[in-house]
C-alpha cells in the first residue's frame, strides 16, 4: 500500500453477489446453470485522496461491485463500508456521501441541465445558496452554461455525459464512484473527464472507478484491483502490481495464470 494513503474511506469485506440467469442468458453464457456468481468474495480498501481502479474484462464483476457500493443492489454475503457507514445497514447515509455515475443511470430528456442540477441538488438536500455557487462553478468548469437551457434530449452524447458528471457530484461528495467514466465519449470529452478526476483527487476526494482501459488506469490510478471471474486476482499500488512491466503485459500475465488461454 502506498504510504501516502492511510485514511480508509471504503472497505469491501468478502462481497458476494449471485444472479439468476434466464434461459436467454443461459444460452449467451453457454451454461445450463441457472445461477451466475457475479462477485465472489471480493475484499479491498480505498483511501482518502486516492484513485482506486477496478480493472477487468467485461463480465468480471466490476459494475456489480460498484452497484453494491453505491447501494443500488445488496450483496448476498459480506458488507461494505463507505466512510464507516454500512451499505446494508445505513444505505441512506452511504448515498449521502457518495456520487455515483454509470451509463445505466439516465437523465430525463424533457428537462434542461439547469433544471436537473437544481432538482438533484434538492434530492441531496443541498441548500439553495450553496447549490447556486456549485452550479456556477461546475457549469463553468465543463462549459455547460452554453447549453444549460437546452433539453437533455437535444444534447450530444458528450454534453449529456458532462451533465451527468456534474449532477453526480452536485452535493460535493467525499467519495466518487464512476463506472467506465470515459465509455462512449469522444477524445475531447474523455480528456475533460479524466482531467477532472485528477482535480477531484487533488481536492482530497476518494475516487473508485471501473474500467477495462489500461491507459486510463496508468494515467489516473494510484492503486488498482484486477478482477477476474468476480474474484480479486491482484490488488495493490500500480507500481508494485506492475513490477516494472506495462499494465497491459502484467494484466494478461495474471489472466493467463487464472484462465489459461485468452480465447
Amino acid at each position: 500500500m502506498n504510504d501516502l494513503f492511510t485514511d480508509e474511506i471504503v472497505r469491501a469485506e468478502n462481497l458476494k453477489k449471485t444472479f439468476t440467469l434466464s434461459r436467454k442468458q443461459q444460452r449467451v453464457e453457454k451454461t445450463t446453470s441457472t445461477r451466475k456468481v457475479a462477485v465472489d468474495g471480493l475484499s479491498f480498501s480505498a483511501y482518502r485522496g486516492e484513485i482506486f481502479g477496478l480493472l477487468g474484462p467485461n463480465g468480471a464483476g466490476k459494475t456489480t461491485t460498484l452497484r453494491m457500493l453505491s447501494t443500488l443492489i445488496k450483496p448476498d454475503e459480506g458488507d461494505a463500508y463507505i466512510m464507516g457507514h454500512s451499505v446494508l445497514k445505513d444505505p441512506q447515509k452511504v448515498r449521502d456521501c457518495i456520487g455515483f455515475l454509470t451509463s445505466e443511470l439516465k437523465l430525463e430528456g424533457f428537462f434542461t441541465p439547469d433544471y436537473l442540477f437544481d432538482f438533484f441538488g434538492a434530492m441531496h438536500g443541498v441548500e439553495k445558496t450553496v447549490l447556486a455557487s456549485r452550479k456556477k462553478e461546475l457549469f463553468g468548469r465543463f462549459g455547460i452554461g452554453a447549453f444549460s437551457q437546452v433539453k437533455v434530449s437535444d444534447l450530444s452524447t458528450g454534453m449529456k455525459q458532462k451533465v451527468s458528471l456534474v449532477i453526480s457530484i452536485v452535493h460535493d461528495p467525499d467519495v466518487v464512484i464512476f463506472d467506465e467514466p470515459t465509455n462512449g465519449l469522444d477524445v475531447l470529452t474523455a480528456k475533460v473527464v479524466t482531467d477532472f478526476l485528477g482535480e477531484l483527487k487533488n481536492m482530497g476526494k476518494s475516487i473508485l472507478l471501473s474500467t477495462h482501459i489500461f491507459s486510463l488506469v496508468e494515467k489516473l490510478c494510484d492503486r488498482v484491483g484486477v478482477i477476474i471471474d468476480g474474484k480479486m486476482a491482484e490488488c495493490g499500488a500500480l507500481s508494485d502490481l506492475c513490477g516494472g512491466k506495462s499494465l497491459e503485459e502484467r494484466f494478461f500475465e495474471i489472466y493467463r495464470g487464472i484462465k489459461g488461454d485468452i480465447l
Binding site: I73, K74, Q92, L105, K106, E108, F110, F111, A122, M123
Partner: protein, 369 residues
C-alpha cells in the same frame, strides 16, 4: 423539501409539455363535441304528433306550438284547451303528451308561472324538453317561472339516467386519465433509467412514491374533470336529460360526491403506479393495467345492474365509490357510508404507496432483468 422537489418535477413535466396537456384535456372536448353531434343526429330523426292539454292562457300555448313545429323534425302539436284536472288525467293515462298550466292572468313577467306536466314516455319527455327550452328562452328576457312536474317523480328519467350511468362514466374517465399520465411517469421513467438516477440519491423511497402519486392524482383529477364536464354538458343534447336536475342536489350531496371522487383518484393512480413499478417497460405496464381496467369496469357495471348491496360494499375499493355516488345521485344521502368509503379508499391508497416504496427498495423489481 425533497418531497416538494419531486412533486414539483412531476407538475413541471406536465404543465410545460403542451402535448401532455392536450392529451389530458382532449377527451373531454372530444366527448362534448361527439355527443352533441350524435345527439343532434338522433334528435333530428324524432317526429312526434304531440297532443297537449292547455289550461289558462292560449296565446303563449300557440307560441310554443309554433316553435315546436318549426324545429325541423316535422312534429305536429295539437292543442286541447281544457280544465287542469282533465288535462292531468289525460297525461297520466298516456292519452296526452303534456299539460301546460298557465297561471291566472298570465303575462311574461314576475309573479306569473307556467307548469308543465308530463309523463315517462319518450314523446312526453321530448315535448317537455322542447317546451322548457322555448319558455326558458322567453323567460330569459322576462322573469316568470317555469316549473316541470313529472307524473313519475320516482322514476324521473334525467335523475335515473344520471344516477345510473354517471358513476360508471366518472370511473371510466378517471381511470383513463390516470392511465395516460401514470404509465408514462412511472413505467416510462423506469424503462428509460431515469428512476434509477433518483434512487442513487439519498431521498427516501416513500418520498419518491408520494412524489409520484400526489401530483399524478392532481393531474388525473384535471383530466377526469374535463371528461366529466364533457359528458354533463352534452347530456341535454344527447339524451334529452335536463341539466337543471343537477341543481336539485343539495350542497351536502356535492360535498360527498366530491370526496368520493377525490378518494378514488389517488387509489387508481396508486394501483396503476404499482403495476408500473413492477413492469420493466411501458408496454408491459400497459398490459397489466388493461387487466386492472377490466376489473374496475366490471365492478362498475355490477353496481349498475345489482341495485341492492349491503354495507359490506364499503370495504370494496372503487365499488364503494360507484355505489354511493349512484345512491347520492339517486337522491339518497348516504352520509356515513360515503365517508367510510372515502376512509377505506384512503387506507388502500396508503397501503399501495407503502407497497410502491417497498418495490422501489427491491433490487429484483428495480434492477431485475
Amino acid at each position: 423539501m425533497k418531497l416538494l422537489a419531486l412533486m414539483k418535477k412531476e407538475f413541471h413535466r406536465f404543465f410545460h409539455d403542451p402535448r401532455l396537456i392536450v392529451t389530458i384535456l382532449l377527451p373531454g372536448i372530444v366527448i362534448f363535441l361527439l355527443y352533441n353531434v350524435i345527439g343532434s343526429l338522433v334528435n333530428t330523426q324524432e317526429k312526434y304528433d304531440y297532443k297537449v292539454y292547455v289550461a289558462g292562457d292560449a296565446a303563449y300555448a300557440q307560441v310554443i306550438k309554433a316553435a315546436v313545429e318549426a324545429d325541423g323534425s316535422g312534429s305536429t302539436v295539437e292543442l286541447v284547451f281544457a280544465a287542469e284536472e282533465e288535462g292531468k288525467a289525460a297525461v297520466q293515462k298516456g292519452e296526452a303528451s303534456a299539460l301546460l298550466v298557465f297561471s291566472e292572468n298570465f303575462t311574461p313577467a314576475a309573479g306569473s308561472s307556467v307548469q308543465i306536466w308530463y309523463g315517462g314516455s319518450d314523446e312526453s319527455l321530448s315535448f317537455y324538453n322542447l317546451a322548457t327550452a322555448v319558455l326558458q328562452g322567453i323567460a330569459q328576457a322576462n322573469t316568470f317561472s317555469v316549473e316541470g312536474h313529472s307524473f313519475e317523480p320516482e322514476e324521473n328519467f334525467a335523475k335515473m339516467f344520471i344516477a345510473g350511468l354517471l358513476p360508471f362514466l366518472v370511473v371510466t374517465f378517471v381511470f383513463s386519465a390516470c392511465m395516460s399520465v401514470t404509465l408514462e411517469s412511472v413505467a416510462g421513467e423506469k424503462e428509460r433509467g431515469t428512476l434509477a438516477t433518483i434512487l442513487a440519491t439519498s431521498v427516501k423511497r416513500s418520498h419518491i412514491a408520494l412524489g409520484k402519486v400526489i401530483p399524478l392524482s392532481c393531474i388525473s383529477a384535471i383530466g377526469a374533470a374535463s371528461s366529466f364536464c364533457g359528458v354533463v354538458f352534452s347530456l341535454p343534447k344527447l339524451m334529452g336529460a335536463d341539466l337543471t336536475v343537477l341543481g336539485g342536489y343539495g350542497f351536502g350531496s356535492y360535498v360527498l360526491l366530491f370526496l368520493l371522487i377525490l378518494s378514488f383518484v389517488p387509489l387508481i393512480v396508486s394501483a396503476i403506479a404499482t403495476v408500473s413499478t413492477l413492469s420493466r417497460s411501458v408496454k408491459e405496464a400497459s398490459g397489466y393495467t388493461s387487466v386492472v381496467m377490466i376489473l374496475v369496469m366490471l365492478v362498475s357495471i355490477v353496481s349498475m345492474v345489482v341495485t341492492q348491496m349491503g354495507d359490506w360494499v364499503i370495504a370494496v375499493p372503487v365499488l364503494n365509490a360507484v355505489v354511493f355516488m349512484g345512491k347520492i345521485l339517486g337522491g339518497e344521502l348516504a352520509v356515513w357510508q360515503s365517508l367510510a368509503s372515502v376512509a377505506a379508499n384512503l387506507v388502500y391508497t396508503v397501503l399501495l404507496v407503502w407497497l410502491i416504496s417497498r418495490m422501489l427498495s427491491s433490487e429484483r423489481v428495480m434492477f431485475g432483468k
